[in-house]
Symmetry: C2
Subunit: 350 residues, 2 copies
DNA sequence: CAACAGGATGTTAACGTAAACATCTGTGGG
DNA sequence: CCCACAGATGTTTACGTTAACATCCTGTTG
């Protein structure tokens, strides 16, 4: 019986594969066995220098690239992390994505990205299932805002981390210390002499928005100050602008803590248009420290989150699970935040 | 000879695989052949409804998830696009990434992301090689700014698109019509009555920066206006601020076209600080239409790029190559831009 | 009633790789 | 001088899947 050839020409036509040369092709050209080529390809075992050179030359001539599917099938590891995000061009999201990609690269992993229409359990669950059909070793979920631990269904046996503290106890989580950030913002404004602080909040169904609002309320109550009605925004500068027009009409408002920088920008624009001075008439604090925060007018006092650290922590927590085969469901990493004081806050007018 | 078992227990220990049940396990449980399970899994061929139900039940009980490595090895397609980007939390980058992910999803593809330290040929080439070792069907390169067609080495046989018009003729490219955008910005300012327009440019080694600067120069020359010295920034708001302090001292400057919105924000801040009114004393135009552009003070007139369309075009061009096995090296898709006039531009003071 | 069509299902083989084991080569010590 | 040993290399096999082909069954039709 003829031994089946493995040369490049004989590939089946129907496959829309990209039919590069295989180990066997390189082996034939270099006059060695496929296993030796594999060893050179992985850079592992003992191969004579001259043999290695011959194999490398053959690889080069044939334009050999290892077939990752076969390699993964054989080795059981893909070198890839899956990541689910929602509206990933937003500041926090894109910076977290960047940080995770960066941290993953440092560990030799690449990142496969999926964005979901909505941060609901259904959409996130579906995305997770879809990703688990791809080649991934683990899964990072960025801010599954409206999903809950009870309704979020994840593929079995797949290591997961979530950047949402609500999932503590269900999945390992990493998050910025939003509570400390909110408290710091409020205390900074009270420390300047403001009687109380208003809050421009994010959407009701968002966990970070809830946490920041709670921190605001707690800090006011702890200081024995009156707690004004909360202003409900939706993260966008537009909503900040709309609510800012109301704020501008209310002379009682001297200090506003905004749940993110974009709403703060909208708010400040509304104040400018109404002829109210920032920080002369109204002090404004944001949250996120977006790139432009320092160059808004006036430069915005805000709470800075260390996205790089969050990314590293997410990847670290995930890869520990991937490598050890364990689950770290009860681990919760809290990354500190930092209040950056700029020119948008000042003592209230006498 | 005993037929080798394929049950879940007998897996080798050394492999850090995630040893889910296989087709064979499901088949055994459902009392059918592996092939039938495969058919159900793919949803393709004719399977009796009752059999299908039994197989689905077995899958469910065992928590079966298809092994994508094996599937890809067999079928030759991964359902994944590779993407290389630089500093991907920047506005243009993150919005392009989002658009590509979105467009890819619509085609049933996921996206594997790699960011590079620098947009140089070396780094991009290395990233491409690294990605080609991963499971990808094609490659999208976002703004390989300092790389050149001559020095950029890509894996053979891998379909590629580049969002950089310099690569036309070498690789299929998609880009916004930056020239038209720059021209529109300058003509808008001249149309308001300004004698000439200054330009705050991006870094020298960036193609988009070059193209925008060229468009600025051409538009001025076409109108027979003097061409002032170009102000060289680096995309950051900080550089815009630094150059803005000089601009603020020069009463001849009445109109500035900035190569991106962030530099425009820095510039406007410097003008505010110097007591120069925008647009009363100086008109400012940006480029990109970032989310905050409408809420800067004053709201920024800028050139809006259709990132969603760019993403769609990139994915379309790439998948056509993946599916047809052809290269479309000479295709160049130019996506139109749109000038958005807001409050940062006005006729010059009398 | 027999042959047949056509759908449902099973069997075989191969995708490219890497682990495990087998074999070969040269070297040094007894 | 021979054998033990170690390093280099080859051979075999299995990873989980799907294409191709083979087979089986059911109902229909001449």
């Amino acid at each position: 019986m003829v031994k089946p050839m493995t040369d490049t020409g004989r590939r089946r036509a129907g496959l829309r594969t990209r039919p590069g040369p295989s180990l066997a092709d390189v082996a034939a050209r270099a006059g060695v066995s496929a296993q030796t080529v594999s060893r050179v390809s992985m850079g592992t075992a003992n191969v004579r220098a001259e043999t290695r050179a011959r194999v490398l030359a053959a690889m080069d001539e044939l334009g050999y690239a290892p077939n990752s599917a076969a390699r993964a099938l054989r080795s059981g590891s893909y070198g890839t992390i899956g990541m689910i995000a929602h509206r990933l061009s937003r500041t926090g999201e894109s910076r977290t994505v960047e940080a995770v990609v960066e941290a993953a690269r440092a560990e030799g992993f690449t990142v496969t990205l999926v964005d979901v229409e909505s941060p609901s359990s259904d959409d996130v669950s579906a995305a997770a299932t879809r990703l688990s059909h791809q080649a991934i070793d683990g899964l990072v979920i960025i801010r599954a805002e409206t999903a809950t631990p009870a309704t979020l269904v994840l593929p079995p046996r797949l290591p997961v981390v979530v950047s949402d503290s609500r999932f503590v106890g269900h999945h390992p989580a990493v998050g910025a210390d939003q509570t400390a950030g909110g408290r710091a913002a409020v205390e900074h404004l009270l420390g300047l002499g403001h009687r109380t602080v208003h809050h421009l909040a994010g959407p009701e169904d968002s966990t970070p928005a809830q946490v920041r609002a709670e921190a605001w309320r707690d800090a006011l109550e702890a200081a024995g100050r009156p707690v004004p009605d909360l202003l409900r925004g939706d993260w966008t500068a537009d909503s900040g602008y709309a609510l800012g027009r109301e704020v501008a009409r209310d002379p009682d408002v001297t200090a506003v803590f905004c749940a993110n920088d974009e709403m703060a920008a909208g708010l400040m624009r509304a104040l400018h248009e109404a002829g109210r001075d920032v920080p002369g008439d109204v002090s404004v604090v944001g949250f996120d420290d977006i790139v432009l925060a320092a160059h808004l007018w006036p430069p915005l006092t805000t709470v800075s989150q260390d996205f790089a650290e969050i990314g590293r922590a997410l990847v670290d927590l995930l890869l520990r699970q991937v490598r050890e085969g364990t689950s770290l469901a009860d681990v919760h990493t809290l990354v500190p935040v930092r209040l950056v004081v700029r020119a948008s806050t000042a003592p209230p007018a006498a």
